[in-house]
């Protein structure tokens, strides 16, 4: 392995700390963590960066190396938090078991990698905020196409489309667009 690139303290405390701070805040927002836990995550991310810094070989800029390391470490940290909550009866208990067949999994289905868990959390939170009628419409639209959902909803055509518009507006206000430019869901972490 090629090593030996000189890394200055400024690389760690400047670029590294800024990237760790951003990532920790993002995780904190998604998981609703208190400030003390966000600080802990930031320290863990920075520590991971310091630990991996000797592997930096200079083939890519330091900022790219640092953000990649921190992104992966951040995903691990977020996964650890979710597992911890599942194990200790946190409020997110139904997210992971429901993820394979639940509505949040359906909407988040196009997203993989570090963003997936955040999107599922965002969608879960969005669904909890909906009134019963709109939540039912979400479930219908997850299983059926629009024409079948209209037939199965028991609503008049105008009321169905009014509720559909309401759902779109609420998604937009929540920072979630059902189909982003890439054809995948886009969440607030982006």
């Amino acid at each position: 392995m090629q090593t030996g690139q000189q890394i200055t303290p400024q690389d760690i405390t400047g670029t590294g700390l800024a990237a760790a701070d951003r990532c920790a805040r993002r995780i904190g927002r998604s998981l609703r963590l208190p400030a003390s836990d966000i600080h802990d995550i930031r320290q863990d991310l920075l520590l991971e960066l310091v630990r991996r810094a000797p592997r930096f070989d200079g083939q890519a800029p330091w900022s790219a190396f640092a953000s990649l390391v921190i992104r992966h470490a951040g995903q691990d940290a977020a996964d650890r938090w979710v597992r911890h909550r599942l194990r200790h009866g946190g409020s997110l208990g139904d997210i992971e078991p429901a993820s394979e067949d639940g509505l949040s999994a359906w909407w988040a289905g196009g997203v993989a990698g570090p963003g997936a868990i955040h999107l599922r959390l965002d969608i879960q939170r969005f669904l909890e905020s909906l009134p019963e009628g709109l939540r039912r419409l979400c479930h219908l639209l997850a299983d059926e196409d629009r024409a079948e959902a209209l037939a199965g909803s028991g609503l008049s055509r105008s009321e169905f489309f009014r509720q559909l518009h309401e759902l779109r507006m609420r998604l937009r206000a929540f920072g979630i667009t059902p189909l982003g430019r890439s054809g995948q869901c886009a969440g607030t972490w982006q």
Binding site: R125, E128, L130, P131, M169, A173, F174
Partner: protein, 106 residues
């Protein structure tokens, strides 16, 4: 050239955002951010019989007002108004900090 004339005793009405713009602001704004979503007399101007605004703009105002009201009920914004003059107010939404209310309604 079209010249718009406003009588001096009638304040200018303006609707700076539409419903989509408001939703985007709700998604993106930092806590403490302020949005002026209407200038005029909201309760009066939104009524069809008053004919203060063209019908299209009046409908947009009704939609924006309903969306802001819903965001306030969800505790995502605080609603305030500032009096500028007679029948002339600026209606402000301030982005709240913290969690949106997690309860089902209706």
């Amino acid at each position: 050239m079209t010249v718009t004339f406003h009588p001096p005793d009638v304040p200018v009405r303006s609707l700076p955002v539409d419903e989509n713009g408001l939703c985007d602001w709700l998604a993106d704004a930092e806590p403490g951010a302020v949005l002026i979503y209407y200038c005029g007399h909201l309760g009066h101007d939104r009524m069809p019989s008053t004919r203060v605004l063209p019908e299209v703009q009046r409908r947009q105002l009704v939609n924006v007002a309903a969306r802001v009201q819903q965001a306030a009920e969800d505790e995502r914004v605080f609603l305030l108004q500032r009096r500028n003059g007679e029948d002339d107010f600026s209606y402000l939404a301030i982005k709240a900090t913290g969690n949106a209310k997690r309860r089902s309604r209706r």
